[in-house]
């Protein structure tokens, strides 16, 4: 801003007009504390006059108090935020910084570089158009440099600035700089990064940060800020075919029906033919409505409201797309996942997937491999832990319009949400649709579930008995089935131990195997319910998430969760099969209640307290409930 001070003072209106035309560049900085990243950002803020006198006074005080530069201005302190990280002396989250020059406004995603913070880097990179990768000139290309570059590439950033910092500590030596750059280019080419601008810097002394430095006379390229101001912001999205994920349907009255959303690629004009996905219906754009009047055209990045020429069924989650170049629609994908949560990703578990404005149910199966971000090697894996990256197949409960992430971030990027905690647990990039989803169609049958059950004089349902090992599930289930048989009902009992001898004999007792165990049993019971049977499932089924997944396979009223409630101490006292003793001795791993959790049902349809009710009485109660909800009535 310094150079413009004169213009601001003389003619502020002219300044404002120029400022209004500024573009915006979002970039990310990657590097560790030791690379001088905070110092570099602090320096950029300082040099672009984003630091006011009162902040500068505070900085001077802080520099003396906690600075690392012997009382001199420590720019890193300008960007250290939370008290917790100040105390630890490290940055622990993504911070966003803002500064502006004559030509541009900048938003910097400032992310820490430690290995455990892949999550943060991926978050910061997701909205960035360029990456500044810092290297300490004394240390050269490190493992973390490779990791940062890989993540930058993964998240679709094609422009990289290689900031070789601390040149002052290697005497501004050209050879050192060139050796590092050559080394880096070899690696970058391997992962497909080619648009690289390398700049020798000293953030501490300000060399080549804002202006070219006399101390690197051998360097002919731009200073960092000069480069950031000039680099072309990607216009490719405006040239791509039109896509708009519908966010909200605007219906103020019966005469107006507008589809509001942000255009993620292309241009739209009134009269354009658009296709509504996934339904495939077509319509013409009637108006582009904004509060400032109708537009003749709208382009990628704008938030608009469209009206269509004919009454067309469109709702949130649909995508409006160019009629002659619509995106694909599919329900099964190969995707790259970045795990963001302490709770690991389990194969077979179902998560909520938010992609664009659509939320769907997604099941991960299978996980193909994990990627080592340091070596780029692939390794077989059964789960993803925090900061792990893996490639998996993903199965959705519905078809969605999408584009591969590499072609369109907005239609190819998604987040995964845990269905119980509601936490954002994963981020994903769609690679491509799986062929099988395009070719397998649901076969409509004439004899249906209702008809089959009717022939048996009953309504099909599943009684899902859950509880600790030794709670009495199998005993009670057996009694219920006997009583139902006596009534002439058609039943089947799926018992945990028995199923593990056949269908599930390939599964063990790790968390992911338990998830798969339940998934299979749930699917089998669904088929049996479809056949018109009353199905009894007697499984520990320790996780709420899987019981919920099972529940959602069934129609309302078909799934009855029966919580066989026996306190752990009591189950352990009974220890019919001697398993608790083994588990306590450490001979049995992952035993529910001992070293693997049992998540108590929150709202079971039926709760049986086995400390006050005999197995016989419990079975009678369940039978009574079935009659009450008319499963066995009439």
């Amino acid at each position: 801003m310094a150079a413009s001070s004169e213009l601001i003072a003389r003619d502020v209106l002219a300044y404002l007009q120029a400022h209004e035309r500024k573009s915006l560049l979002r970039f990310i900085t990657c590097g560790s504390v030791d690379d001088g990243k905070s110092t570099l950002i602090g320096r950029l803020l300082y040099e672009s006059k984003m630091i006011f006198d009162d902040q500068l006074t505070a900085l001077e005080q802080d520099s003396k108090k906690v600075g690392t530069r012997g009382g001199e201005l420590d720019f890193a302190l300008l960007v250290d935020g939370l008290a917790a990280e100040r105390e630890q002396g490290i940055t622990i989250d993504v911070a966003y910084r803002f500064f502006a020059t004559e030509r541009r406004k900048f938003i910097v995603a400032d992310t820490p570089g430690h290995e455990q913070y892949t999550r943060n880097m991926v978050t910061g990179a997701s909205t960035a158009e360029l990456a500044v990768i810092l290297i300490d000139a004394r240390r050269g290309v490190l493992t973390q440099t490779r990791r940062h570059s890989f993540l930058v590439r993964l998240l679709g950033i094609s422009r990289v600035v290689l900031a070789v910092n601390k040149m002052d500590l290697v005497d501004y030596a050209r050879e050192r700089f060139e050796a590092i750059v050559a080394d880096y280019r070899v690696f970058a080419a391997r992962i497909g990064l080619t648009d690289i601008t390398a700049i020798p810097l000293s953030a501490v002394h300000g060399d080549n940060v804002v202006a070219r430095s006399a101390r690197t006379a051998w360097y002919q390229g731009p200073a960092l800020l000069e480069h950031l101001e000039g680099v072309e912001v990607d216009a490719a999205l405006s040239r791509a075919p039109f896509r708009l994920p519908v966010q909200w349907v605007n219906r103020p009255n019966a005469d107006f029906r507008g589809f509001a959303g942000q255009i993620v690629s292309g241009v739209v004009r009134p009269g354009d033919r658009v296709r509504v996905l996934p339904s495939g219906r077509e319509a013409h754009v009637a108006r582009i409505v904004t509060a400032d009047g109708d537009l003749e055209a709208a382009v990628a990045g704008q938030s608009v409201t469209l009206t269509l020429g004919s009454e067309t069924d469109v709702s949130r989650g649909d995508v409006l797309a160019a009629g002659d170049a619509p995106p694909q629609v599919a329900s099964q994908f190969e995707a790259t996942l970045v795990w963001l949560h302490e709770e690991p990703m389990l194969q077979g578990r179902s998560y909520l997937m938010k992609a664009g404005t659509r939320t769907a149910q997604a099941t991960i199966s299978p996980l193909k491999h994990k990627v080592n971000v340091n070596t780029l090697e692939h390794a077989a894996a059964e789960k993803l832990e925090l900061n792990d990256i893996g490639v998996c197949e993903l199965e959705l409960d519905r078809a969605i319009a999408f584009e591969p992430y590499a072609e369109n971030r907005a239609l190819g990027g998604f987040i995964l949400i845990d269905r119980l905690s509601n936490a954002t647990v994963g981020a994903g990039l769609i690679n491509f649709a799986l062929r099988r989803s395009q070719n397998v169609h649901w076969q409509a049958l004439d004899v249906d579930k209702g008809r089959r059950a009717q022939l048996k004089g009953q309504q099909a349902c599943v009684l899902w008995l859950t509880g600790l090992s030794g709670a009495g599930k199998s005993t009670i289930a057996n009694l219920i089935e006997k009583k139902l048989a006596a009534q002439g009902r058609h039943t089947y009992l799926l018992d945990g131990d028995n199923v593990r001898h056949g269908l599930n004999k390939d599964l063990g007792f790790t968390a992911q195997d338990r998830v798969e165990n339940i998934r299979r049993v749930a699917e089998v019971s669904r088929l049996m319910v479809d056949a018109g049977l009353i199905v009894l499932v007697s499984f520990i089924s320790p996780f709420r998430s899987e019981r919920r997944m099972a529940r959602e396979l069934f129609a309302a009223g078909e799934f009855l969760e029966v919580f066989v409630d026996t306190p752990l101490a009591e189950a352990e006292r009974r220890d019919v099969k001697g398993l608790y003793k083994k588990a306590r001795r450490g001979e049995l791993k992952n035993f529910t209640g001992i070293d693997s959790p049992y998540e108590t049902p929150e709202n079971p349809e039926i709760r049986i307290d086995t400390t006050s009710l005999s197995a016989e009485a419990a079975a009678d109660e369940v039978i009574a409930r079935l009659a009450a909800v008319r499963i066995t009535g009439a």
Partner: protein, 317 residues
């Protein structure tokens, strides 16, 4: 209506093919996207309206986001009863103009106990009449999402705040509960009782806000513009004598000075600056040439280095 309507700004001629968006266009589109996501995914959103310039911009964006429908949520003003009189006049006029429901909430217990900045100090006053009052109001109406006008550039601890900031059922902000925000995908899911604070202006700077007010001709409270006002100087801050509740110290006589305010809060806690800037461009001019930050006028920030972070954990914005 009351309020300073800036002179018409020269606008960019609409190009036949829209070129790359300017920074203000991108910020506007992002804010609108955020607001629509909240309306689509939350059950009872509300917009916290503080009468200041950031609220003015946020409200203007809301009108744009849902046009031609009115914004589908009410405005909520958490009233400490110590705002400038000009702010109250402006607030009522605005609510009428945009045709939105305006809810005003006062912490009645605090009022009954006589809590005020002069008697209880800024910390107690802010906690009781603002932080506690806000929680009361959110609970009373059962709002599950509240738009706030906070920006990341305001203060260091805000640089890491999410756009969708998650609050427990007790309205607490827990750094561990905050969700990563990738692309423009916001996770608005929550359990009953939990809520979100949503900051559509997260990526705006003070300059962006002023530039946008100028470009869009958004009405603002006249206190932002310089005028001759009665003030007394206390601890280096110019405090305006806005009503008879302000106790004058012995010998203290209000002086008539040409002043304006960079931020607006409770009048006893908001310092004025001497200024000649009586138009929006002149404010921008002064701001760009001035050398002190916006929050300097706010008395509450000076408490401790990490004071904002503590306040945020307690439920204050």
């Amino acid at each position: 209506m009351k309020g300073a309507a800036p002179a018409p700004a020269p606008r960019l001629a609409p190009a036949s093919l829209p070129g790359p968006l300017t920074h203000l266009q991108r910020l506007e589109a992002e804010s609108i996207h955020i607001m629509r996501e909240v309306v689509a995914e939350c059950e009872r959103p509300v917009m916290l309206y503080s009468i200041g310039k950031d609220s003015a911009v946020m409200l203007h964006l809301a009108v744009k986001a849902f046009h031609p429908a009115p914004p589908p949520f009410p405005l909520l003003h958490v009233d400490t009863t110590w705002k400038f009189r000009a702010m109250y006049e402006f607030r009522d006029a605005v609510a009428q103009r945009v045709g939105m429901q305006l809810l005003v909430h006062v912490n009645q217990e605090g009022l009954a106990a006589g809590v005020g900045p002069f008697t209880h100090g800024s910390q107690v006053h802010t906690d009781v009449m603002k932080t506690q009052a806000l929680k009361q109001a959110l609970d009373k109406y059962g709002f599950d999402a509240a738009f706030g006008g906070a920006r990341r550039d305001e203060e260091k601890s805000r640089a890491k705040e999410r756009i969708f900031s998650f609050r427990s059922a007790a309205h607490r902000w827990d750094p561990k509960q905050q969700r990563p925000e990738l692309w423009s995908l916001y996770n608005a899911r929550k359990r009953p009782g939990e809520s979100l604070r949503v900051f559509p202006l997260s990526n705006w700077t003070e300059l962006d806000v002023w530039q946008y007010i100028y470009r869009e001709r958004i009405p603002i409270v006249p206190l932002y513009l310089a005028a001759v006002r009665p003030v007394v100087e206390r601890d280096g801050a110019l405090i305006m004598v806005d009503d008879e509740r302000m106790p004058l110290k012995p010998g203290e006589v209000p002086a008539q000075k040409k002043v304006r305010f960079r931020t607006l809060g409770c009048y006893p806690l908001t310092g004025a600056i001497q200024s000649e800037a009586d138009t929006v461009p002149a404010i921008i001019q002064e701001m760009l040439l001035a050398r002190s930050s916006e929050r300097q006028g706010r008395v509450i920030d000076h408490d401790a280095a990490a004071s904002m972070e503590k306040k945020k954990q307690e439920g204050y914005f």
